[in-house]
């Protein structure tokens, strides 16, 4: 791997950075999709050394055309188990180029990866026709000319000079292939995968696994849930705390764990814990910890906690 691509991987920085394994233990074809222009794309599932599903990948060769000018894009794409974009790799002799044949620079790669990772990009809802400025020329003779508002509204969503490449790659990455990846993973989803995802440090896996815990079985995953309450990624803690079974708040052991977290949680998660302790009998030790955390709280939070401390054991 050359240093440019290595740098790009490091810059990606999304939880567990998946490094494409040069010598995969096992790969199997998961499914095949056909792109709009009937290009066949085979997507492989790659396993870890322990023979666990790890990620999906595909070697894609597709033309990108503007009017009648085409160039061939060759790119290796990598997705996580849920169909979220992870990374890409380019063969050294087939770099990505913009339309003046200028090669992508590092900053372009960073931007492209960010766009590809954004499932709610505007590119999802614009077809190529709507992105192109030709309509301005067509109508300005008769109608008031519209400004290049296209660029203004979508310039953050495309790599400058590589509109077609960005659009096409986004749809390859986030279209049918991504949907089928999720389906494929769901078909083999079991308890082991659920637990691994819960234990991961990766937001997408944590959130997905949380939604997969059956309502009646939350007791089984208590340690993982509590961990996610304390240190889940992004807004995972708000979902994790919701999933905690009712009884846990009254269990002396877990109650202590939850109360101990308060000092290090963000403001809103602190409020979640404080609110849920209302009406719950508190152990002496829990009360003592709450007393100690008071100075770290805001005035309104202190008022709530003081009212918790007043209630009998």
């Amino acid at each position: 791997m050359n240093t440019k691509i290595l740098l790009a991987f490091c810059l990606l920085g999304m939880g567990t950075a998946l490094v494409p394994n040069e010598n995969p233990v096992r790969t199997e074809v998961a499914f095949v999709v056909f792109l709009e222009d009937s290009v066949q794309v085979a997507v492989d599932l790659v396993f870890t050394n322990d023979n666990q599903p790890d990620h999906y990948q595909s070697q894609v060769k597709t033309p990108v055309c503007k009017d009648s000018l085409c160039y061939l894009v060759e790119i290796d794409l990598y997705w996580d188990l849920l169909g979220n974009f992870k990374n890409y790799r380019l063969p050294p002799d087939a770099p990505l180029t913009k339309f003046d044949h200028e090669e992508f620079e590092d900053v372009d790669h960073v931007k492209l990866k960010k766009i590809l990772a954004n499932k709610t990009s505007l590119l999802r809802d614009y077809d190529m026709k709507s992105l192109v400025d030709n309509s301005v020329k067509r109508t300005s003779a008769v109608v008031d000319a519209t400004t290049g508002a296209t660029s203004a509204s979508i310039k953050d969503e495309v790599v400058g000079g590589a509109l077609y490449t960005t659009h096409k790659l986004w749809h390859i990455v986030n279209g049918e292939a991504a949907r089928k990846i999720l389906q494929h993973t769901e078909a083999m989803f079991g308890d082991q995968m659920l637990v691994e995802m819960l234990r991961s440090d990766y937001y997408h896996y944590q959130y997905y696994a949380l939604t997969k815990i059956p309502a009646e079985a939350t007791e089984k995953y208590l340690p993982e849930l509590v961990r996610l309450v304390a240190s889940g990624d992004e807004y995972v803690p708000f979902f994790a705390v919701e999933k905690l079974p009712k009884g846990i708040w009254e269990n002396e052991n877990y109650q202590l764990k939850l109360v101990e977290m308060i000092g290090s949680l963000n403001f809103e998660m602190q409020n979640e814990i404080i609110n849920r302790l209302k009406g719950i009998p508190l152990s002496g030790e829990a009360k003592s910890i709450l007393k100690n955390v008071l100075p770290k709280l805001t005035e309104q939070q202190r008022a709530k906690v003081e009212s918790l401390l007043k209630t009998g054991t």
């Binding site: 709610t120 709507s130 008769v142 109608v143 008031d144 519209t146 602190q270 309104q300």
Partner: protein, 638 residues
Amino acid sequence: MEAKRRDFLKAAGLTSGAFFTSPVSLFGKSPVEQARAAEKSVYQVKKYDTDFLVAGGGMAGVCAAISAARNGAKVILIQDRSRLGGNASSEIRMHVCGATALKGQPWRETGIMEELFLTEAAENPQRSFEIWDFIMYDKVFSEPNITLLLDTVLYETEVAGGEIKKAKAICSQTEEIYEIKAKYYADCTGDATMAAQAGADFMRGREDKARWGESLAVDVADNKSMGNSLLFMSSKHGKPMPYTPPVWAKKYTKKDFIHRNIRGVEYGYWWLELGGLVDIIQDGQALRHDLLVTLFGVWDYIKNSGNHPEAENMALSWVGMIPGKRESRRVVGDYIMKQDDIQNAKIFPDRVAYGGWPLDDHPPEGMSSTDMVPYISIPLKGPYSIPFRSLYSKNIKNLLMAGRNVSVSHVALSSTRVMATCAMMGQAVGTGVAYCVKNGILPTKLGNDSSHMSRFQQQLLRQDQGMLGVKNVDNKDLARKAIVKASSETKAGAAANVLDGTNRDIQDGTSHQWQAEMKGGEPWLELSFGQPVRMNKVQLTFDTGSHRRLMLSGDDSVYNIQERGPQPETVADYVIEANTKNGNQVLAQIENNYLRRVEHIFEPTEVKSIRIKVQRTNGDALARIFEVRCYLEDIQRI
């Protein structure tokens, strides 16, 4: 009027016995007297015969009624509430959105909508929604051609031979039943109630991709729609204001607001939305309650979760009881607008209005699935045209429509539904009806006949309706024959611009307005005629800053960034003088103007030239005039 009991029941179309005894009129009477009184019909039938019945007094209906009246039609406007404005009224308080969404582009809606925007900004510094109701009421009431019937509910529409013959409405406050015959009818009810009663073809639900090739459509067609929203307002007090929700309010936690931003708490949220999964019309009673359950739950979260300490001194000051609707029926017209018409603007030959709001679709789940992103908003490159053929019914000849119930696909509706766009449709429909009355033609003729349509577009343009790519070619405009000069002009604002046929900034590199420095004194503009010309009307179009949003809103972040009051660019004080063979004569002298279009009517006068002297602007360093028009016509103020 006496009527037999059975006939009355049939006439009222109601089986409830409630109409037979009026508690007020029978109060204190003996049982015998009560029984006798019950035989008399309490409700009086009142018959009307008019040119134009507008059903629905929201933004679309108000503009339809006003524009028709101003163009000489006799109008009856029925509204099922005591206040006008629909979703914009004080009862619902949705702020009026439109083409100002096109950031940096000068497309705020003109015409009657602009009159309303400007009047509200100038006359409602107290930021009161009820006063806004009365601004609309005043505009409607000021039209002698309009008969306004409030608290009047349409309940029956009679059709024969593909035409509406009569509409029946009831007003419980006055105990009247109205039977209204009109030449033309406009359905501005939002739900297309009149159209449905009349047997007009309509669409409902979400069409699939295959239907019209819309990339934003759903994969499988269904009956779902965007939901209704319920709004609230809160105000700040000098001390903490504790809040206890009703026991039936929903409980929310932070996880429910991942996709729903609570930035300000003084005004409610568009995403407080439900109903797309049910029958949004017929399930309305339960839906309203579900929205209240949600609303109080959200307020409880704001007040009691601890996550919004800034709300500690805030308390609810108003809670809506009428949900703001977005979508239900859409009447089929000669043309159905689709996604492509919105994203790739077409120059329809029958273009009579424009839109500019993004394609803003909401998933039907609304607050019932807080894990879903509550909207997709796809900004547009520029404004798009709305054809007249989307504003009248395909199969009911004398039925037109304006508002959210027009001939559009579900996807297109996600842009056309906003109230400023609806207002423009209303003006197109009202003016169109007046045109049809005058020329004795059907709407479909107007929509499909190019020579009628060009004349109609000129009429609309003169009345400042916003349209794309329509220039002033009115042969009756005497100003077009004039030579124009000015005391001074800026490089960007040549005096000749006032006669260039365009009355607004259209971002084509020309300002289309005369501009002159105020600081030298009173700049003037002069139109002179080779041969003296007889005229009795002069119309001026001023600059009102059309790139800015301007509307009443409960949302501080929307309201506080506006230029409230008269718009600074607008000429405030001016004089129009005529040079006649008897010397100079003042035709008009105006102070404190804040309107965009002003028409001056005076005794027919033969002039060699007219001069418009600008004495004061509302703040701008430049005097600005977009257009001058002159006419000699029968007096009919438009």
